[in-house]
Subunit: 542 residues, 2 copies
């Protein structure tokens, strides 16, 4: 027996229709790529997205076409997303921080039909667009006045192109499972893998993150996603913010501390979100200038672990609540959020930071578990770590083209590739990447914990820990460090510093000093390169 | 092209799984029908719901079976809902305030297979259960000790019956569109009509009402739904509260001011919900005793319009925010909520009450419009009123058995039967029921506004306005009033009191004094009876 409720597909255009109807005059403030601050509204966003959808169709683009964007967070980029989705297309965000040959590979793999691009990226696009045969149209996100000379195929300025449409358009009626967006993950090994978001996943995820114990987004908030739209679906904020009708502030291309501070202050931002590196720049700027954050209430921090000192500083010096979050491109992307459950809400000082240091708990819509290598579920005791696996309404079921099949099991669980423990309160903490964990005599050692411990020494600039073959233990940890300029710490001093702070058998078997540690294009330590480099390393214990 | 996201049906048992996993120890506190306060938890709720599902199957009940409940808000009633849904059954709440022959009609129409019943209602069930042939089992929500003598078919005490199951059960895997619950609307005319909630509608509705600008429910809250589970799906709180992991307080059968106050105070309730009549009793109790509400933050008021004086009292005397809401059984049931949009958030005094007096705006998931009799959409100007029509993911598409087809149009809009206007800010205000509006010379007069105006006179106890046939204007308003005991106000004094407070042509053509106004079983004015009674009334103006 079926329920007798309405068919009301969870389509992304409904978010925009709602924002226009209920919050039409609410502002969207962008720092434009051309420079000035530009003010628009949800009403205009919808009008322009309708024109964009109509204009794309007139150019011959059709339902299911992948349309790439290579752009900063601005109202125009948002118009592009909603216009593309509204005509049944699939927005495909490209990460400008990737190497050009990776971007070319991704565009060819997705068979992108068109490209929306910011002025900033014209020089690189000029170079590699020729290698992508599928692209029939390049739309430069600017007006006629700022349009550069270009040899790109059918290149037009956005405003001229959009001006040819009248907006008399009906959103395409779509299955809620239809593809809405696409984002490739850039692993440290292997080819990038494409995640394909459905309309349904985008809508449910937006409701999920807006809830009080997630990001807690209200129409009375002013939200600034500093996290780029090209990074992991903008953490869902491009959908959740219009859904609740909050004012939206888009920081454009200027990501330095002073520029971010300026928008936080002049636009009275109440909620913002980005990776720790960005907040380091902001905190430095605040310390240099003595400025405060009187309007900001919450800062979402994810992408990599938020250092305890950062949480402390936001909380104690600026009266801003840190919400430590974890997610993955494959999860649309939010997985857990570190808001306080009732049993923790009155905690203060170090006890509060102990909770805040974890990545938080899964909201309704996300299931998680940790397992050992035999897929046996491990206890939630806050110390036993294992492979973190997830299920949910906004979690990938597969990658585009069928890559990475081994990450999905028959019960619907996705293996995140992260290693984590979960405590009795449900709070999860990432301890490592599965491929970086060191398996010593069948037991697991967290490379990240050892690295964090090593960089805690005042003479160490950066540290990496990898497993090196060992005849008795299969693998033992090798610590690779970069000393701070002018410092001369020795192997034995560093090991004594670490001694007693982790289980004895976790201590690295050796330390090697290097002048530089290799990184990926997005700034992560490239452990695969280190493993190659130290493949034949002879440990003194072996 | 489809998205590549997981199949993760929006089934109600997922709410309970999540509550158990993430908020397992969070309390459910019930005032039991037997008397004492009983404490349980989400973990126990899930364990007992699993047993209940298993036990129902063992009794031969199957997917799609309608299982009735006639019970107060207690943990046992909640276990019954989740257990019924978990085995694929359909909880069917019966309203004990209906006349027995109505309940019998409803049970026969739904073909209820079993009945969970509270001790309170045993005497009435004894009388009418024989008239419902489909019921094969009656489960009395009590233990062996309190089990009364009964002649009911296969009657058992709940605890004994449940004790025969071990809970080793897997929730039934269901289509998210499967029926989950059922509730009949008791119109003032015609037979009751059955609304059938799907799992999907229940889950989406719970997410919708938990959002910050709706009820704003957090795990840190303590929620007491005073609104009965048999009234309009408990306003969604039986799903939303476990979904967020808030502490849940269930008031059982004692609905007087002192009993409600006791739970608000001892359990430190932060959010509660009920109809205005209930809050009138609480406010009287507070005034008599001088007690305060130090823990309560928000009170949801709906079911009928919340008087301005009530909002003022909660806000000014007790520092409690009133959220005025509107909904219908057909909407799972929430339609609008009167939280403050940014442009109103700093309003104070009468200006704030002006906004709070309206029923609020539609959250994402509900679309609304007002139309004239030719289905032309009317402006959102805060004064032009018309038929209120709605669409949404938790709005009925039809009634059980195909009744009331005329309320659903081909574009998917449901005609609420209410008359309302919507202002430029999106706030809706109900002005009448469509069948009660008076159509005078093609223009509409709100019977409710005239009634509110008349009861504003200190000598008037109750007032009803109906349209009476008029040879020139088609219909003109007749005001029917009950004077307060010992008061002697005249027709002309009452009309002069009303003069100048509504458009001149709205003023009733006559006033008639009666000793009593007829009501429905649920306390609404029975205008159909008044219309019959005054069918041949001769207006002095005609």
């Amino acid at each position: 027996m079926l329920g007798l409720m309405q068919e009301w597909p969870l389509s992304c255009h409904k978010i925009l229709d709602h924002a226009e109807r209920q919050h039409g005059n609410r502002e969207i403030v962008s720092r434009s790529v051309e420079g000035p601050i530009v003010r628009t509204s949800y009403r205009e966003l919808r009008e322009r997205a309708l024109k964009l959808a109509q204009r794309l169709e007139r150019d011959g683009f059709r339902e299911g076409d992948r349309i790439a964007t290579l752009a900063w967070n601005t109202a125009r980029h948002l118009e592009a997303w909603y216009g593309i989705m509204g005509m049944g297309g699939v927005y495909h965000t490209l990460n400008p921080r990737l190497f050009p040959d990776q971007v070319v590979w991704i565009m060819n793999h997705a068979e992108d039909q068109a490209l929306f691009v910011d002025l900033t990226f014209m020089p690189i696009v000029e170079k590699y667009c020729g290698a992508v045969g599928s692209v029939r149209r390049v739309i430069v996100l600017t007006d006629a006045e700022h349009m550069p000379e270009t040899s790109l195929p059918q290149a037009v300025s956005y405003e001229e192109w959009l001006g040819e449409a009248d907006g008399d358009y009906q959103w395409k009626a779509l299955d809620e499972h239809a593809a809405a967006g696409m984002c490739y993950t850039s692993g440290t090994t292997g080819d990038p893998k494409g995640v394909v978001y459905s309309h349904r996943a985008n809508v449910l995820h937006a409701m999920m993150i807006a809830m009080p114990d997630a990001m807690g987004l209200s129409s009375r908030d002013t939200v600034m996603p500093v996290v780029p739209m090209f990074h992991a679906n903008c953490w869902g904020l491009a959908q959740a913010t219009p859904m609740v009708g909050a004012k939206l502030v888009m920081p454009g291309s200027r990501m330095d501390g002073a520029s971010i501070y300026e928008l936080l202050d002049t636009e009275k931002v109440t909620v913002t979100a980005a990776v720790p590196t960005l907040w380091l720049m902001l905190l430095q700027h605040l310390e240099e200038t003595g400025k405060k954050l009187p309007y900001l209430k919450k800062v979402l921090i994810g992408g990599s672990a938020c250092p305890r000192a950062m949480t402390r500083k936001f909380q104690d010096d600026y009266d801003v609540e840190v919400i430590h979050a974890w997610g993955m491109t494959e999860m649309t992307p939010v997985g857990t959020l570190g808001t306080m459950k009732p049993q923790y809400m009155d905690l203060e000082g170090e006890a509060r930071l102990d909770v805040k240091e974890k990545q938080g708990y899964a909201p309704f819509g996300v299931e998680m578990k940790v397992t050992d290598d035999e897929n046996r579920e491990l206890d939630w005791d806050g110390k036993t770590f294992g492979r973190l696996k997830v299920r949910g309404f906004a979690v990938a079921a597969s990658y585009y083209g069928g890559a990475g099949k081994e990450q999905f099991d028959e019960d619907g669980w996705f293996d995140t590739g992260d290693v984590a423990h979960i405590d009795a309160g449900g709070y999860m903490q990432i301890t490592d990447r599965a491929k970086d964990v060191i398996k010593s005599g069948g037991e697991w050692i967290s490379s990240i914990e050892l690295e964090n411990l090593a960089v805690g020494h005042p003479d160490i600039a950066e540290a990496a820990v990898i497993g090196v073959p060992h005849s008795r233990w299969a693998e033992r940890p090798l610590l690779i460090v970069v000393r701070k300029a002018g410092r001369e710490i020795s192997r034995d001093d560093l090991l004594s510093f670490m001694n007693g702070k982790v289980p004895k058998w976790w201590l690295p078997d050796d330390v090697t000093f290097v002048s530089e540690i290799p990184h990926t294009a997005t700034g992560k330590i490239l452990k695969s390169a280190l493993r190659r480099q130290f493949r034949d390393y002879k440990l003194p214990t072996d």
